[in-house]
Amino acid sequence: MKIVIILFVNVFLLTGLNSNLPKKFDKKIDKETKKIWNTSIEKTLIQVPDSIKFSAHNLLFELKNSDSLVGIVSINRVRGCKIGGCDAIITDAISSKYEHFYYSVILDNDLRVLKVSVLEYESDYGYEITSKNWLKQFTGKSDNEFNYGEEIDVISGATVSASSLVFDIQMITSYLESLKKNKSIF
């Protein structure tokens, strides 16, 4: 009986932790990791202390294939376009003007990008970034290889969403590099 209850409680707790992600995000990432590694990959939330968190919205998961670490997935919220346009690169601080979207980036152990996906995109502007062909450009690249307009093509009419996604991936990869170097988390 005791064991049953403890087991039950533990299962409850674990599922509680995994429900950090909306179901459809969860499903989508699982589907992608399965496609990359040809097998079901377990993902566990990394508890990052607030002091070294990348951003309030950022979630990091360890990806494990039968107990060995194969990669990391980061989920983050970035600035999309604003109502009435997507031309201006973000320079001001009035963030409420902008819409936001969520994306995920799956990285291997060397922090090389395996897959970038846009998880949720609301706006009628700048949705071209959800195009697979454009997102493909990130694959195989790592830290410092993401420059909007150089390694990654610009999209007219999606300047804000595209550039903020590129910028965020650049930041998150160098953030993860530094975590790795300092052995802070993994």
């Binding site: 968190k53 979630l59 009435g84 346009g85 201006a88 320079t91 093509d153």
Partner: protein
């Protein structure tokens, strides 16, 4: 048993306090469900248009052509309201868009309200920094009557895997005949028939849709369609037995079918845009006979535009865009046997100019526009200068 209960309580307290510590930061489901936000945007253009003629003196025009305020309110993660309020020429006020969009999932959204007809590029996306030249292309005035909006309902969504976006709406049609006069004619085509959602009358709804493909790198292609019949104020209080009156009202109605294709291509500093629209008008003969108008049977218009950012290969991050646009449109491409083609309505234009982006959201524009109806040999010249902005 005692131990296990304690364990249970302990774990519950632990999980509760863990959740309390950081209730929002790590739970995206909660954040998404709670997301409400209000945003304001806007755009405008202030223009100077000057006809240049070696033999005559002409007034120039200075105009606050449009000042537009956009508001968006996100009620929750699924439902939003979008409004666009426009001041045209300082004193004409219009509501250009007001709709509620409810998202079921990214593939299916429900939308209702005053909607933009998804025909061509400019009708949907007309913020001044997004187009080259001081004025919008004239194909998007005479063939696609920009800004074309009517009240309607429908669905839209995106298939991200396939890079497809679609929109399908049932909307109110043009008013072809109101208070004893024809609203459609040879010179302006369908433009005069827009009801713009202001006390509009409806007899039969129209159908419009667009599919866009953005799967190829640097390229975006759109296909638009619009089908239906115009409305008429003559269907007011007609007794169903009054066949003559019904027939009379029927003769003030025309059928409208419009097709469009548009292409946007960008590679490095080069941008190419093209759009072609074709419309077929049914019953124009009867319509013209009854109303005395000169509406054509068939209209078409297209433009192609090539632009280049002069600063592309330099270190300058600002943009100086040189462009050339060629337009050809004819609102009398085909006319019925009772009418003679008016060659004034077969117009060609060449616009060449420069746009400098002072910041990403402000452009200073200048261009020279050569226009020529088929009926005359000389090109009319107009100099246009303008300030365009969005925020």
């Amino acid at each position: 048993m005692k131990l296990s209960l304690l364990t249970l309580i302990g774990l519950l307290v632990f999980s509760f306090s863990a959740a309390q510590n950081n209730p929002e930061d790590t739970n995206l489901s909660t954040i998404l469900a709670k997301e409400r936000n209000f945003s304001i945007g806007g755009y405008g253009q202030i223009d100077y248009n000057q006809t240049i003629n070696s033999t005559s003196i002409n007034n120039g025009n200075l105009d606050v052509h449009r000042l537009v305020l956009l508001f968006k309110y996100q009620f929750d993660s699924k439902t939003k309201l979008v409004t666009e309020i426009e001041y045209e020429h300082v004193k004409e006020v219009y509501v250009e868009q007001v709709y509620v969009n409810h998202k079921i999932n990214s593939k299916l959204n429900l939308r209702g309200g005053l909607l933009l007809i998804p025909m061509g590029i400019i009708n949907e996306y007309h913020e001044p920094p997004t187009f080259n030249g001081v004025e919008r292309p004239n194909v998007d005035k005479y063939i696609v009557p920009t800004t074309w909006r009517e009240i309607g309902i429908g669905i839209n969504g995106r298939f991200n895997e396939q890079s497809l976006k679609y929109q399908l709406y049932l909307v109110n049609g043009f008013n072809g005949y109101n208070d004893g006069s024809a609203k459609l004619n040879g010179e302006n085509g369908l433009r005069g028939g827009r009801q713009k959602g202001a006390k509009s009358i409806i007899n039969k709804p129209n159908f419009t849709g667009k599919i866009e493909y953005y799967g190829l790198k640097n390229l975006k292609v759109g296909f638009s369609g619009y089908f239906g019949k115009t409305q008429s104020s003559l269907y007011k209080n007609i007794d169903k037995s009054e066949e003559n009156l019904i027939k009379e009202a029927d003769s003030t109605v025309v059928g409208v079918s419009m097709l469009g294709v548009d292409i946007r291509y960008r590679f490095k500093g080069i941008q190419f845009k093209g759009q072609y629209n074709y419309s077929k008008i049914g019953n124009a003969l009867e319509y013209n006979e009854f109303t005395g108008s000169d509406l054509g049977d068939q209209m078409f218009g297209y433009y192609t535009e090539l632009a280049y950012n002069v600063f592309e290969s330099t270190n300058i991050s600002k943009e100086l865009i040189g462009f050339v646009r060629y337009e050809h449109y004819d609102t009398h491409d085909k006319v019925n046997e009772q009418l003679t083609k008016n060659t004034n309505y077969n117009r060609k234009e060449i616009i060449a100019g420069l746009g400098y982006r002072l910041t990403n959201e402000v452009s200073i524009k200048s261009d020279i526009q050569f226009s020529k109806p088929k009926s005359i040999d000389n090109w009319n010249k107009t100099l246009n200068l303008g300030i365009g902005f969005e925020f």
